[in-house]
Point group: C2
Chain length 585, copies 2
């Protein structure tokens, strides 16, 4: 930076006050009004050792080595929230950047540029001022006994074969994400596009232009032209729906003008195996989306199972009739859900979890059966402990006098811990509209006795476990898990001495940390044509142009850095004024 | 465009007044001041048939079919300047966009994004409102006898093999550009990067990041790290020098901060076979550039011929000592000049020009020995007619009375035509500081006689042909040729009736058009660190920060559309504030 004092200062101002980001205001030029979104992140008062003090202690005490695998939402959220300088952090990932994945569907059609939604990990680490080493490599093996991970560089250039190396760890954080699930459908890997990574989005963008250019050649027959311009999307989840909507906008708003001779041949088909698209959303949103797609001319085929993909045809089985239908296509995008990555699957086999859909962890995100290994994000699933497994222990802990019965006072002492340790209890109570566990006990008895024996206790709680649900595989969950874990690491020593978690019903004392608890802030489903459906907590539904502005504001404020924020907002502006670019690069 | 009335209007305003572009003002936040650049393009009063009238005539008269091969500077300049709607224009190119190539070195390091410097051909054609068909394909064969070109689609996707087709033409315009010249040096095609196309620039950008990521792996030895971070550039022309400067800025300003552990290993070497870099520029610029590179730590090796490139080493021969030196490298960029593309070479063989470095044309850009075929830009070279070949005819034309001698009056009648037909005469006169051809004749004689016979005439003009020079292979030349040719096409019919060119010395009457004349507006050589060298007409030299601002202004004003202009300017701003992005995508 030779002499860029003005720019330097401006740049530093942006970097030094990241909290400004929480109050990002998007000026909406029409319709949407003015909106400010706060980050809503819990900010506990962290009390780790003073950095200066640590430097002095450093000579006698070795820093603990934390290895983070992956730089997606979970891994980066962990890095961004880690404040304790007493860790030597090593990050291993095949991508040297973090990608803001919710905008990937926008990248496929050039509404937003790929580079606008990525931020180099080294920049993120540098801003933290922590001791972070990044390695661009894939971890292909984890040795939990020797506390070692084995890695391999992902480059295939002329730099001389694939470099291999291993890293020791004290703590291992697995946040490697997941891969698209093909359900072993033949031909999908070879012929379909996925939409998980930035590279996928770029390839899809090129492919769409390829189809239009190909269809414009004079020697192509009419039938072939119709095939080439048939875009098929498999999977009616939020990603598939958003991509279909983006593609429809791209074709009607931009490509139709530039390819007037072939625009009539373009067709978009969305295949969904279930009865409805967006089935995780409220029914009103599903209905609105389906109607909008019908109006837009997007061919929505629900109840269609894909059985095979060949180079020019996609074969489906119609569930209602059992018939097989073959659709000629030009491009297929596969977006039907996720499955474990091969490296994670290997590790799952190694630790005796071969049949799970993801790495199983306890409520503190620790991988079951392993020591000092954590898993979060899409590669992990929390195995919530059942109340019924621990019912005797809970009763005994509560029954301090060992009288064999519990009274109200006994309850009141443990009810908080029960609800914290077994969140399903709280959800069950809420559902039954009861205030507390005492109500539950009362309800299970005819007379309002205050004394409860173990049988009554068991029967009262017998249905609470039915309320357990796996968390969705979303960026929101991963980000909250990363922040939670970083916060645990920040207070590791403090909580060792003064545990803050609930009572150990099966052991002695308290758990060191509160268990992870997910807080849902709502979900968006962009439907194209400047309309978005939003489902916010408390069953608040909003569909239309105003939600689109909410979407713009929330996404702009959530972006990882001021650079990406400015780039994405200017991309949106560029799109409004000049449309999307159709150059094939 | 549903309801974007505001944006729509803004967009239309941009599109409808492209002449605004000529007065683009770059607001310079510091140092550079305020600068407005005018396009400086000659704008002749074109007089073609009225479009409305033409529509009526259309039924009786078939439109002439013009096929343009290539969408570089020459082809696009032709398209942008063609105004006569009486042509049915077909454009064939493997790229569906025009790239502003002078900014390619900036793209290699992310100073400017690739998408900011490209504009789809279909957008350019649509804005013209002309009848333009674009085909994304490569022309692999030209049949001049049957007036047909054979094309093949360039896609290798699952769309089903390579489509082939042919197009008839009435006029063919070859503007396919050139390819990098390896001078048959072994290993260059396999291991070196070129810098001719947008894809090349993107690959170089990825490769630089790959080298830094690779060097950061813990298992890499110190020697290997030094090799991987050794960037070698072959060729000290403007492109090689600009790339070296860009790379140096990228490494020192951005990467050094993000890769602190390996920054000490990075090294840039520039190999030049001649004695100096930038040898087409003034000596002062060369000296400044060489000194600056030395200060910057760029290792400049002049007099080094590359003899071989292997996967990890580049072998050079030092001209002074005759010694062979092998340099281990991580990345090589090859930028030593241009040679004909294979398709053009095939055509050159076919029409009997097998040994030329490019397609030979006359001064009207017509390919020699072909009918209705034009060639312009880097794939062509103008074969300027020698005065000595025509000396007898010139004398005879001038000697109207067939007296065997010329007097001053005879001269005055033809001198304008001579200077126009043989521009070397004018250059020679300028060099000798003579006002007109009469001075030249006088100088060749002892006594100031007014009567000149053919021997004296021949001896007086004997040295003028030494002033003939090929035009440089630059964007400026190609753009002027495209504009010139479009202008000829616009006035084809008019000039058929009323020829405007010089006398045909070897024939009857006048040439239909003025011959092409190149007007040099100067050249830039960006040297990094916000410094640029500029050589403007009249030997005006400017080096330093002010030239950098001139460079910014000129390039911004010359960009092809308002969209690219805005994007490039915002890229520059982003770079000032946030630096260059180092994500490997």
């Amino acid at each position: 930076m030779h002499g860029y004092s003005f720019y330097g200062k401006a740049s530093r101002a942006f970097h030094q006050y990241p909290s400004l980001a929480k109050f990002l205001v998007v000026f909406t030029a029409s319709g949407g009004g003015l909106l400010a979104i706060t980050g809503g992140k819990p900010s506990p008062t962290t009390a780790y050792a003073d950095p200066v003090q640590v430097q002095g202690d450093d000579q006698c005490k070795k820093k603990k080595k934390v290895v983070v695998l992956g730089t997606g939402w979970a891994g980066v959220s962990f890095l961004k929230n880690l404040k304790d300088p007493n860790y030597d952090v090593h990050v291993v990932s095949p991508h040297n950047y973090f990608a803001f994945t919710p905008l990937l569907p926008s990248v496929t059609c050039g509404t937003v540029e790929a580079r606008s939604i990525v931020e180099p990990i080294r920049c993120i680490a540098r801003k933290k001022g922590l001791d972070v080493n990044f390695r661009e490599a894939v971890c292909y093996k984890i040795d939990a006994d020797k506390k070692k991970v084995f890695c391999r560089s992902s480059q295939e250039t002329n730099l001389g074969g694939k470099e291999e190396f291993s890293i020791d760890y004290d703590y291992l954080i697995i946040a490697m994400g997941a891969k698209s699930n093909t359900f072993n459908t033949p031909g999908v890997e070879e012929h379909a596009h996925f939409l998980k990574a930035v590279e996928d989005a770029l390839r899809i963008r090129q492919s769409v232009i390829d189809c239009f250019e190909r269809a414009s050649l004079p020697s192509v027959s009419e039938e072939e032209r119709r095939r080439i311009l048939h875009f098929v999307i498999v999977g009616g989840g939020p990603t598939g729906v958003e991509f279909a909507a983006e593609l429809h906008d791209f074709v009607t708003q931009d490509l139709a003008k530039l390819y007037p001779s072939v625009k009539g041949y373009a067709k978009i088909t969305l295949l969904e195996a279930g009865d409805h698209i967006l089935n995780m959303f409220d029914k009103r949103i599903t209905a609105f989306a389906e109607e909008k797609f019908q109006r837009d001319g997007i061919d929505l085929k629900t109840g269609s199972m894909v059985v095979k993909v060949s180079d020019k045809e996609i074969s489906t089985k119609v569930r209602a009739t059992g018939q097989f239908v073959a659709l000629p296509y030009g491009m297929v995008v596969w977006s039907t859900g996720i499955g474990p990555r091969p490296e994670v699957l290997d590790f799952m086999k190694q630790i005796g979890q071969p049949n799970r859909r993801a790495l199983s962890t306890d409520e503190w995100l620790r991988v079951e059966g392993c020591e000092n290994i954590y898993a979060l994000g899409d590669c992990a699933t929390i195995h919530q402990r059942r109340v019924m497994e621990d019912i005797a222990s809970i009763f005994n802990k509560a029954d301090k006098e060992k009288s064999g019965t519990l009274n109200l006072k006994d309850f009141q002492e443990v009810v908080g811990d029960i609800c914290e340790r077994y969140p399903q209890v709280e959800i069950y109570l809420k559902k039954k509209q009861m205030k507390n566990i005492a109500d539950l006990l009362k309800a299970s008895q005819k007379e309002s006795s205050v004394q409860v024996d173990i049988e009554t206790f068991t029967s009262a709680l017998s249905e609470v476990d039915s309320q357990m649900k796996n968390l969705p595989a979303t960026a929101q969950v991963a980000a909250q898990q990363g922040a939670y874990l970083a916060n645990c690491f920040n207070r590791m020593e403090q909580c060792e001495k003064y545990p803050e978690g609930p009572i150990r019903f099966r052991g002695v004392g308290n758990h060191r940390f509160h268990p992870f608890r997910y807080k849902h802030f709502g979900q968006f489903a962009p439907l194209g044509g400047e309309q978005t459906a939003a489902q916010l907590p408390g069953d608040w539904i909003s569909i239309g142009h105003s939600s689109q502005w909410l979407w713009y504001s929330v996404y702009a404020s959530k972006l990882v850095s001021w650079r990406t924020r400015m780039l994405v907002i200017s991309d949106w502006g560029r799109r409004f004024i000049f449309g999307r670019d159709s150059s094939r690069i």
